[in-house]
Amino acid sequence: MVEIRSPSVRRGWSESARARASEIVGQYPEPRSAVMPLLYLAMAEEGYLTDNGMREVASLVGLTPAQVRAVASFYTMYKRDDPGRYLISCCTSISCMLLGSDEVLRAIEDESDVTAGETDPEELISVEHVECIGACGGAPAVTVNYELIEGMTAESARELVRWLRTARPEAIVGAECQELFGGRRSFDWGPFDRDSALGPYPAFGPLGTVSGPAEDQDG
């Protein structure tokens, strides 16, 4: 293992993140396979993918930081610039485009004063346009921190931005956002799902990025 000297102070991961990291590595026959989930874990630890995070991942799976960076740079969801607390991703692929996604994106950019690909100075809201997110039956669709809202309009998109600005929710509950701002869905989602995203990375339990039901948090 190559020892890396970093000019910045090396922030260590939390105990719980380290425990989770070894669980994740243990799920694969070869440690290298854990690189992708560990990169998400790194984002959950520090809010985005830092050089420090990539070094941690490298040391956990026995790669060099350059090898880890080569992997991370291939995938759009590993954010190497600090995004805002809320990442609004607006689909502008074919099915959403046919039903008005360009107007939805313009409304988001206008209301947030953030151009796609940018983050506001307060680091509250980032906006991006993305390729198909598999919500074509409920087009046009957006995600906030990867939680889906289907059946958007330019007006509901403005309301969504205003709500994020004023309510500043701790976590994004997808089902709640759909009820507040969404319309037609691709299909019946089933029961209300309280799982929520804690930051601009997908809310998936094993990565430590899901908050449970609100009542459990209180307990």
Binding site: R32, V71, Y75, L98, V130, C132, G134, C136, R184
Partner: protein
């Protein structure tokens, strides 16, 4: 149409809890697994072969045949392709969110048939709800003894790992997916020699199957391959989930027996076009598929073979409907932009060609197009996909580059007038 419902039956009848283990068991779940575990592994493969189940991910390869190609060396792996990202497609999301145990039971049976003791479920990163529900199903299945050691006392062991992608369409290509699962860039591998059945995950024999394909497996084991093969026309057996989107009254996923016509699919199943506007064209099988137009294709049967004969494919089952208000140049630009963005960059014709096509199309749409641009579009397309043939002749490792050519073929053949109008008027006639 009275379609037998195979993969959407449970979620239709029990919308409030079709994803739970309790409901799954109450509706006959995991009985196919119990039955399969009492059969010899090749008997299980035999049933799937008899079913004539063709892959639901895009290529339509016969599933049982794929299994029979698996090399004998151990360990072998099963990988579930839940990296659904072909524009227009949202069916596997519904199967994973609404009935994860069905897909999981299919995965366990497939692993048993192929002698795999570790299966991976690769779910696209933009589907966190799918990942959560599948993960919950996996945990519940472990707790109930359907996963882990000595499953149902059979001596068969299986571990399952749920793996999240991170926003790369190319990982839906099976060898790109395997690289991704190994913790690498999701660049496709050259076939031969890297056929997954011989040299797959960690260079070991690997079965890669789509979510919907595997969701059909429990029904096939329970009812027998012959019963499945009795549904639908020759070459397109069973049912199929169609994701219908765009300009229709009732977009959504529909489980259909193939063999109906496109007219029936668009006007009856999906309710026709809002405002009774005229149908202009449609994409019959995801962004990669060459387009269909009403004059030539509306009364063709919706089957894999009829669609292939007409020069396109059912692909991922995504049908995107465009009405008369659609600017086909803009639609093409949007589709080609997708492929330019998602090109992994390994092969020059795709990496360079797709982004040139995108830039030329944008120039035309924005009013700066020149007549020579039409020839350039075709020339670049010919470099990516020699002869502009269907199915494409490949100059690239995987079919992504040639897919970008499909919409170019549509606008240069069916909608050339519209393309020229953009150039001559110096702008988009639909603006």
């Amino acid at each position: 149409m009275s379609a037998p419902s195979i993969v959407t039956d449970r979620m239709t009848r029990h919308p409030s809890d079709s994803h739970t283990l309790e409901r799954y068991l109450e509706t006959g779940g995991y009985q196919a697994l119990a039955k399969a575990l009492e059969m010899a592994p090749d008997e299980v493969t035999g049933e799937v072969k008899a079913a004539n189940l063709r892959g639901r991910g895009g290529a339509g390869f016969p599933c049982g045949l794929k299994w029979s190609f698996l090399a004998p060396s151990k360990p072998a792996y099963v990988v579930v392709n839940g990296d659904e990202s072909e524009p227009g497609t949202f069916k596997d999301r519904q199967l994973m969110e609404r009935d994860p145990h069905q897909m999981l039971e299919g995965t366990i049976i497939t692993s048993y048939a192929n002698g795999a003791n570790h299966a991976f479920i690769y779910i696209r990163g933009e589907y966190p709800r799918s990942a959560r529900r599948v993960q919950q199903a996996v945990e519940d299945a472990y707790a109930a003894g359907y996963l882990g050691s000595d499953i149902l006392g059979s001596g068969f062991d299986l571990e399952v790992t749920v793996h999240l992608g991170a926003g790369a369409y190319i990982c839906g290509e099976e060898t790109g997916l395997l690289n991704s699962l190994e913790g690498r860039r999701g660049e496709p591998r050259l076939k031969p020699p890297y056929y997954p059945a011989a040299k797959g995950l960690y260079m070991q024999p690997t079965i890669v199957n789509n979510v919907e394909t595997l969701a059909n497996v429990p029904w096939i084991i329970e009812n027998g391959g012959e019963a499945f093969a009795a549904i639908g026309p020759d070459g397109s057996r069973g049912t199929r989930l169609f994701s219908i989107s765009g300009h229709v009254r009732r977009p959504g996923n529909y489980e259909l027996v193939m063999g109906l016509t496109w007219r029936e699919l668009i006007y009856e199943v999906a309710g026709g076009i809002p405002g009774d506007r005229a149908l202009k064209c449609w994409i019959p099988g995801g962004a990669s598929a060459p387009w269909f137009v009403p004059d030539d294709h509306l009364d063709l049967p919706v089957t894999l073979d009829d669609t292939a004969k007409a020069g396109s494919m059912l692909g991922s089952g995504a049908v995107v409907i465009m009405d008369e208000t659609t600017c086909t140049v803009r639609a093409t630009e949007r589709l080609v932009r997708f492929f330019a963005h998602e090109s992994c960059g390994q092969c020059t014709p795709c990496r360079e060609g797709c982004s040139w096509l995108e830039r030329i199309l944008r120039r035309i749409e924005e009013g700066a197009g020149r007549e020579v641009d039409v020839d350039m579009l075709l020339d670049i397309s010919d470099n990516i996909s020699p002869g502009l043939a269907w199915p494409p002749r490949m100059t690239t490792i995987c079919p992504l580059g040639p897919s970008a050519v499909s919409p170019i073929l549509a606008i240069t053949s069916y909608f050339k007038d519209e393309l020229m109008a953009h150039i001559h008027q110096g702008g988009c006639p639909f603006d």
